[in-house]
């Protein structure tokens, strides 16, 4: 079913996709003429397939649960922010804060993601085939961030327990982020993640980064700094 945003209002399109009748078999939708609108496909809860043909604005596929959303274009700020489950696949580039605070699901970005990709992520798997900008995985708590290109400044600043895998160069690591050993367990996990994104790059080509866990507790030696 084609939903044309030149003819239909964004709110009615979102309402339709948010209220899928489970008894019916219509589970495949295409949105045409998105024209950079914000919040397209926000708050979907059912296991449906949606393809968006064109570039979208902010918070596309925000809070997604179960739905499989493909964006055939670029996305603005906060794609798949606070996603709980499901899959979002961006065929172009993503703006800042992609996958922010997301608890679950998979976000695949074929192009680059700009700054703060995966900020405060809480369980999502993000696979970026290009590069990510500065402050990516800032305060990231859980889940995996895979970057097939390079990472910008202050990667993984104030990191908790997210695993970060980068194939290219890392401009700099943020506070409390350090390179970790790539164990067999991690290689298997990374291979699985890359496979999800349709990539056959070898896990051996990546480096793993994680938390040094020095910010978890207050260090009394720093008391004079406050």
């Amino acid at each position: 079913m084609i939903l044309d945003l030149k003819k239909l209002k964004l709110r009615s399109v979102n309402e339709k996709l948010q209220n899928i009748d489970r008894k019916k078999n219509k589970r495949d939708f295409t949105i045409s003429n998105p024209e950079g609108n914000h919040a397209i496909c926000a708050g979907l809860t059912e296991n449906i397939d949606v393809t968006i043909k064109g570039h979208v604005g902010y918070y596309c596929a925000g809070m997604n649960q179960n739905a499989n959303i493909i964006v055939d274009g670029n996305v603005g700020t906060g794609v798949a922010e606070n996603m709980m489950s499901g899959k979002v696949h961006v065929k172009g580039n993503a703006s800042q804060s992609a996958g922010a605070t997301a608890h679950g699901g998979t976000l695949i970005i074929d192009g680059d993601a700009s700054s703060r990709c995966g900020i405060s992520m809480k369980g999502i798997d993000i696979i970026v085939k290009g590069s990510v900008g500065h402050m990516s995985a800032f305060m990231a708590q859980s889940g995996n961030l895979v970057v097939c290109g390079d990472a910008g400044e202050a990667l993984g600043d104030s990191l908790y327990e997210t695993d970060i895998y980068v194939k290219g160069k890392v401009k700099s690591l943020g506070a409390d982020c350090e390179e970790k050993k790539m164990s067999k367990k991690h290689k298997i996990k990374l291979k699985e993640l890359l496979k999800k994104a349709g990539s056959n790059i070898k896990p051996e080509q990546f480096k793993r980064y994680g938390s040094a866990r020095k910010l978890y507790n207050f260090n009394i030696d720093n008391v004079s700094n406050y």
Binding site: G36, H55, Y58, G76, N93, S95, S114, H134
Partner: protein, 292 residues
Amino acid sequence: MCGIVGIYLKSKKFEKSLGGMLSKMLVSMESRGPDSAGFAIYNSDKNKIYKYSVCLNEMSFEKFKKEIKKKVKFTTIEKNSDHVILKSTEKPNKILPILEDFSTISLVGYGKSIEIFKQVGKPSNVVKKFNLDNFSGTHAIGHTRMATESAITTDGSHPYSTGEDECLVHNGSLSNHNNLRRKLKKSGSKFSSDNDTEVAAGYISNSLKKRNLKKTLNKGLKDLDGFYTFIAGTHSGFAVLRDEIACKPAVIAETKDYVAISSEFQAMAHLPDVHYAKIFEPEPGIVYSWGK
């Protein structure tokens, strides 16, 4: 918040429709800036005539025309809503002091190619009021303002022009503008508002006396403290700069015919061939410039 937009034409193809293209961009950025709007549009400077863009404020056109004709011989004087464009072969050093003597009007810009119009109100009303759709030119810059640090007035609206054929629009806020204003005043710069962006425009004009636009903006990375995406225009083109934290958005679309920049992609969604354009976000702390 605020919305910023700009178009630089690489070929002559869209010169006649430049105003219409910019107008739609401004209207689609109304949600980012409903308080006021303004635009600077650059047209060829072949005939060496200076154009002075003036906002009349409370003064009537007839009264202004009568008064100004006593003092200066203009080739033309064109009225566009509450703005006028004075065209003269007389140089700015002669005309500017005369215009400054009028206490009620505001000079919003001057140069051989620039024309500036700005006013309070919704962007959709402002573009209609000045008939932006009918303008042609080589490049143009616009702004929709959501006022944060100074009043909603014409003087508080963007673009700011503080030098010949120069202008600046800004999405963001500067934190060291008061100090910088004091310093610039000492070196002779004049300001008409308490606005932070006007200070950045003054800073750029001051620096352009010594260096080119790219070097000026690179120096600005050190001297201007705050959040910003800037579009700075000159007679030959424009440059874009985002601060190094890059909280303020910007997206660029480039085709063989034009370069467009806006705060959000939706402002460019109507542009011709935009779906075949190279679309990218300007990287933080990097100066991007286009010009002849």
